[in-house]
Amino acid sequence: MFKLPKEVVDLINDPESIKIVATADEKGNPHCAVKDFFTLLEDGNLAFAEEFEGSQTNVNLVRAIWFAKNVELTVRGKDGTTYQIKGKPYKYFYTGPLFEKFYLAAREKWGPDSELAGVWVITPEEVKNETYEVRKKEEDKKHPFFRHLDRSSVRRTKIQNSKSEISN
């Protein structure tokens, strides 16, 4: 199975990082939802809690597991480090030990009237570093002629009085 790098695993396990699940409906319309409970399982799969059975994310995930479609998870740390993980839904639990673990965590966080529909397990297939600095380097290399020429890494010096000339 595809193994997530340690830096990604740490980011997933950091409760302060932001996690977003992106799915698509039957017409291909995208849908993104922020998720609170995310964890990496021992077998290398990712698990996250889905609060509502009738949510668009849940419906899209059911379609994805039935018809072998991909979903995408984005994780962004406090320092802006961002990863995108592409994968396929592998299992859905609404009973059993994994579900209970998430259910109790939700109770702890949201109180005794909280709801949790189930836990989705996703098998990661691909991971991409989407951190701004990393992506910038990649793009500069790949598409040097898409860069703006006034960027400091492109121009040797900067004209000091250009602004005043325009305003005159």
Binding site: V59, V62, W66, P89, K91, Y92, F93, P97, Y103
Partner: protein, 444 residues
């Protein structure tokens, strides 16, 4: 089925209906062909806490294992377990443990990874009167608490059971000494429900189930009294009143029978469904006042002649039109979306009087589904089982082709969307018997 036709295999059906989820097709096939556990799979069930031997609770000498259900990866129920006493189609599937994972196999072929759900903790508990809780709550599945209202069906006693039904032959879990509830058995229900609600995150609905009893309380011997089925309703009310003590629902202002406001209050809706007979309006009102939220009364077979042949008890007490009128009257009382009915799909193909052609049978079923939908009633269907103890078993009736159920589920799903109806109380998590509810998972 009467006609000799080439029945499509699983792969042929899956290829012909690419928009129908393969998992749900497989589930239908497991119901039709049955599933047998290997010794290794049984050991796996024990290790995962998904196995319980109920023989001691039932006072039996031989082992009586209960499994905590098996699911496909997407949470769809696998059907066809415990198939030893059923008439099946073709060769059964197997469940085996391979490299630590549970698999569904067709012969040597690994088909699908599946998983066990552990049995709930209440299986091992007793009430303060010493009654095993597993005898109080008859459901063995996650999410659903099923309570038997009484443990007989009067139609069986009159030798008029629905022909596919084995209710009186099975159901030994919940057989009680007293057929109707006593203060002690109600206290058992109260204790058990309270105890199992301690298991957090396990339950989402309560089903009250029973056989039929058309007798009216004050009309002994003369069933068509002023209020038939009153005996049955009285038992439901006893249990609803017991459940009122378990839930935090408020009492709400009552409405007089003519619709004007009353000074009294009634119980607000409890999270409870009743799978009941066809009750007259005044009895439905009593149930509503006792807090019942959802009323399910099963027509079973839509075609008029076949209804009379397959459900002779229902036909006698008091005929198809009476059952239909009762279901429609319930919509006024419980509200659109809170009333449903069910077809036992496949019974209408039984020999010798059943439909000869699949398409004829489908058209009849969908006509019934559309009629009810127009009137605010959702129709679910279950797959026919030909179990020991039923008339159909003795008659060696055959099961319909796999494709028949795919077509029916598609047809019902289309009607469900057209009328914007749902029956989440009979949803895919509750027991897995309703294929149309599997498809409803794609409705946000």
């Amino acid at each position: 089925m009467n006609e000799v036709i080439h029945e499509l295999s699983f792969e042929e059906v899956a290829k012909k209906y690419p928009d129908f989820p393969r998992t749900v097709i497989r589930k239908i096939d497991t119901s039709l062909r049955g599933v047998i556990l290997t010794e290794k799979a049984l050991e796996g069930a024990k290790e995962e806490g998904a196995f319980y031997d109920v023989s001691h609770d039932l006072g039996r000498e031989t082992h009586k294992p209960v499994l905590g259900e098996v699911f496909f990866r997407d949470g769809t129920y696998l059907l066809g377990l415990n198939c030893e006493e059923s008439r099946l189609k073709g060769k059964p599937y197997f469940l085996d443990l391979i490299d630590g994972k549970l698999w569904l196999l067709d012969g040597e072929n690994l088909l699908e990874e599946v998983y066990f759900a552990p049995v709930p903790a209440f299986f091992r508990k007793k009430t303060s009167r010493g009654t095993p809780m597993i005898k109080v709550i008859s459901s063995k599945v996650p999410n659903r608490i099923s309570i038997n209202i009484f443990t007989y069906c009067q139609f069986f006693r009159e030798k008029l059971p629905c022909k596919y039904c084995s209710y009186m032959a099975n159901g030994s879990f919940s057989r009680r000494k007293d057929e109707i509830h006593t203060p002690e058995s109600l206290e058992d229900i109260y204790e058990t429900v309270n105890e199992i609600l301690e298991e957090e995150g396990k339950w989402t609905n309560i089903n009250l189930i029973s056989g039929s009893d058309p007798r009216g309380m004050h009309q002994s011997g003369a069933y068509r009294g002023n209020s038939p089925y009153e005996n049955e309703v009285n038992e439901y009310i006893k249990v609803l009143k017991t459940l009122q003590r378990c839930f935090a629902t408020q009492r709400i202002p009552a409405v007089n029978r003519n619709g004007s406001p009353s000074h009294q209050t009634v119980q607000g809706s409890l999270p409870v469904n009743a799978i009941a007979s066809a009750f007259p309006r005044e009895q439905q009102l009593r149930l509503k006042e006792a807090g019942l939220a959802v009323y399910i009364s099963n027509i079973e077979v839509w075609d008029k002649k076949l209804f009379e042949w397959i459900c002779p008890g229902k036909a006698k007490y008091f005929g198809r039109q009476y059952w239909i009128d009762s279901i429609l009257s319930a919509v006024e009382i419980f509200g659109r979306g809170n009333v449903s009915t069910q077809l036992v799909a496949g019974a209408e193909l039984a020999e010798p009087y059943g439909f000869k052609e699949m398409d004829e049978a489908l058209a009849s079923n969908l006509e019934g589904v559309e009629f009810f939908a127009r009137n605010g009633v959702y129709t679910t269907f279950c797959i026919l089982w030909v179990d020991r103890g039923s008339v159909f078993y003795r008659e060696k009736q055959k099961l319909p082709p796999l494709e028949y159920y795919v077509k029916l589920a598609q047809g019902i799903n289309k009607i469900r969307k057209k009328y914007n109806l749902n029956a989440s109380y009979s949803g895919y998590r509750g027991d897995g018997f309703h294929l149309d509810m599997d498809l409803a998972r794609l409705a946000p």
